[in-house]
């Protein structure tokens, strides 16, 4: 019974944890411009993140070594440092976007300008990182994030023309008034939003925090194969709501209020409040995960003790990093920079940074010295190699597309 509860909890937190500010904004932008014609990218991204998270969770569960320790061992200190800097710049950018997202959500709930909220949000975030148990913060954020199911309910309540949505789903190409390059740019952004490296740092380090071993591998499989796809479904529902309400009206998404507006149309004020609490949990949860990921990655690279399962004094440098990244993000967001813009940059650079961590993990997942009998089988390797190609193509294409389309403008 306790096991069943653990599994259910794992799946639920994976659903809630999948969606963050990047998914919210990018899916709504895409839905309002391309309908559901890019939904296939979400499916592709979910497949990729499931594969990647499972491999890194497996490596940690069997060998006891977390992602960045392995990257350091495989690439050596210099190449791994370049890798660390790239991945951390990315994750820090995401952390800033999430903090901004929390502040924007509080603005929508209370009407007070978001900049006022940055400092209190950062303070609460740090207090949570400092004092709250790992299992507690993992579960609460994940479960409250489930309120985002309001997007699914709203989509049904809107009573859309399902035939039209179905046509968009299989269209797989830009609508007449959008060009191919912009379509490709948003495909990259959506892929980056679904497959962010921090989710993998968090998943594998979390496996170590929860003390997984080889008997828990099935838990990893269940979590990624049920939780992430259901999270992807939430993403598609967000795009679907935008496609039904905003696309026909010709409204582009440039703020968080427009992301949740379709829910208001469908479910009224109560719906808006529910979905905003969900957004608050999703962005707040992701802020916790990104901050922890910075601490995990840097501590693992340097070989310091890390983790929430020990007292802060037993992992002092890890906690110093957590404090540092929260302070830096807070200062940057206090400058009044637009969180939605930070988000858009973060998903694109997420796509650029992905191969840096994906490749070493794929190599180690095939190394019997780390994994014994649990190395990747031929089927897993087949898909993992296909994704290696996809991840590389996306990473190379991201920046040129960003410049050519001027961020999809």
């Amino acid at each position: 019974m306790k096991k069943l509860l653990g599994v259910t909890l794992g799946i639920l937190t994976a659903i809630g944890g999948f969606v963050d500010i990047g998914d919210l904004v990018t899916n709504a932008v895409v839905g309002s411009r391309f309908g559901l014609s890019l939904a296939w990218v979400v499916v592709l991204g979910v497949g990729g993140i499931s594969l990647f998270a499972h491999m890194s969770g497996k490596v940690t569960a069997i060998s006891g070594r977390a992602t960045f320790e392995i990257i350091r061992e495989r690439l050596g200190p210099r190449a791994a440092l370049a890798n660390l800097i790239g991945s951390m710049a990315m994750t820090l950018l995401t952390l800033m976007a999430e903090i901004g997202g929390v502040a924007l959500t509080l603005q929508l709930l209370t009407g007070v300008v978001p900049v006022v909220y940055i400092l209190p949000v950062a303070l609460v975030l740090w207090l949570i990182l400092w004092r709250v148990k790992f299992s507690m913060l993992e579960n609460v954020a994940g479960l409250m994030g489930l309120l985002l199911i309001a997007f699914v309910v709203a989509l049904f309540q809107l009573g859309p023309d399902w035939g039209e949505l179905g046509r968009q789903l299989v269209q797989n190409q830009p609508t007449s008034n959008e060009n191919g390059l912009t379509y490709a740019f948003y495909a990259v952004a959506l892929f980056g939003a679904a497959m962010t490296p921090y989710e993998v740092f968090f998943f594998s380090s979390g496996a170590a925090e929860d003390k997984w071993d080889s008997t828990d591998l099935w838990l990893s499989r269940v979590n990624v194969s049920l939780g992430f796809p259901l999270g992807g479904l939430l993403s598609i529902a967000i795009a679907g709501c935008a496609a039904v309400v905003l696309l026909p009206a010709g409204i582009g998404v440039s703020s968080l209020s427009q992301v949740v507006a379709p829910v208001g149309v469908a479910l009224g004020v109560a719906g808006i409040v529910v979905v905003l609490v969900g957004v608050l949990a999703a962005t707040g949860g992701a802020a916790i995960e990104t901050a922890l990921s910075c601490g995990y990655a840097i501590a693992q690279y340097a070989g310091w003790p890390w983790g929430k399962r020990v007292r802060p004094a037993q992992a002092p440098q890890f906690h110093a990093v957590l404090l540092g990244v929260v302070v830096v993000s807070c200062l940057v967001m206090l400058s009044g920079i637009d969180p939605v813009m930070v988000t858009e940059f973060s998903v694109v650079f997420s796509a650029v940074a992905l191969p840096l961590t994906y490749f070493p993990i794929l190599v180690v997942a095939n190394d019997p010295q780390y994994l014994g009998e649990h190395t990747n089988g031929p089927v897993l390797n087949f898909f993992a190699l296909i994704y290696l190609v996809i991840v590389l193509v996306v990473a190379v294409a991201a920046v040129p597309l960003m410049i050519l389309t001027r961020m999809g403008a």
Binding site: S63, G64, R65, E69, R72, E73, G76, P77, R78, A80, L81, W130, R131, V132, K133, F134, Y301, A302, G303, W304, P305, W306, K308, R309, V310, R311, P312, A313, Q314, P316, Q317, H319, A320, Q369, Y370
Partner: protein
């Protein structure tokens, strides 16, 4: 095969590649807690002319290299090879954490910053 035959000193003839199996691996103290990464090994020649590892150099030495040089040998933080108990995905030792000189930075952060913030010495609630 009878059990009482003497063991060959090179346990089951296990071959280790210092570059692959030692360098940049995680070093653990006697309680299994991370110490630092292994940056280098120091070697010596025995009377028979064989090379043996004498100690492990702790930390990657990246900061020193960043400023253009290797760290002088006398200032390197090392751990005697005798302390190593197991070579696996991580390197286990029987070293007592408080006796490891290379951890002075960690102790500084603990004693002067993190340990002084309220709650820093308690289990997460």
């Amino acid at each position: 095969m009878p059990d009482d035959l003497p063991q060959h000193p090179a346990q089951d003839g296990r071959l280790l590649d210092a570059n692959l199996h030692l360098l940049d691996r995680q070093l653990l103290d006697r309680d299994g807690r991370p110490v630092l990464a292994i940056g280098d090994v120091e070697m010596d020649r025995t009377e028979g002319g064989r090379l043996v590892i004498t100690c492990l150099v702790l930390g990657s030495g990246l900061t020193a290299r960043f400023f253009g040089a290797d760290r002088p040998v006398s200032t390197r933080e090392t751990m005697a090879w005798d302390a190593v108990t197991e070579i696996n995905a991580a390197i286990s030792t029987d070293a007592d954490r408080d006796d490891i000189p290379g951890l002075w930075i960690e102790r500084w952060w603990r004693d002067h910053v993190i340990g002084r913030i309220p709650g820093g010495r308690h289990d997460p609630g």
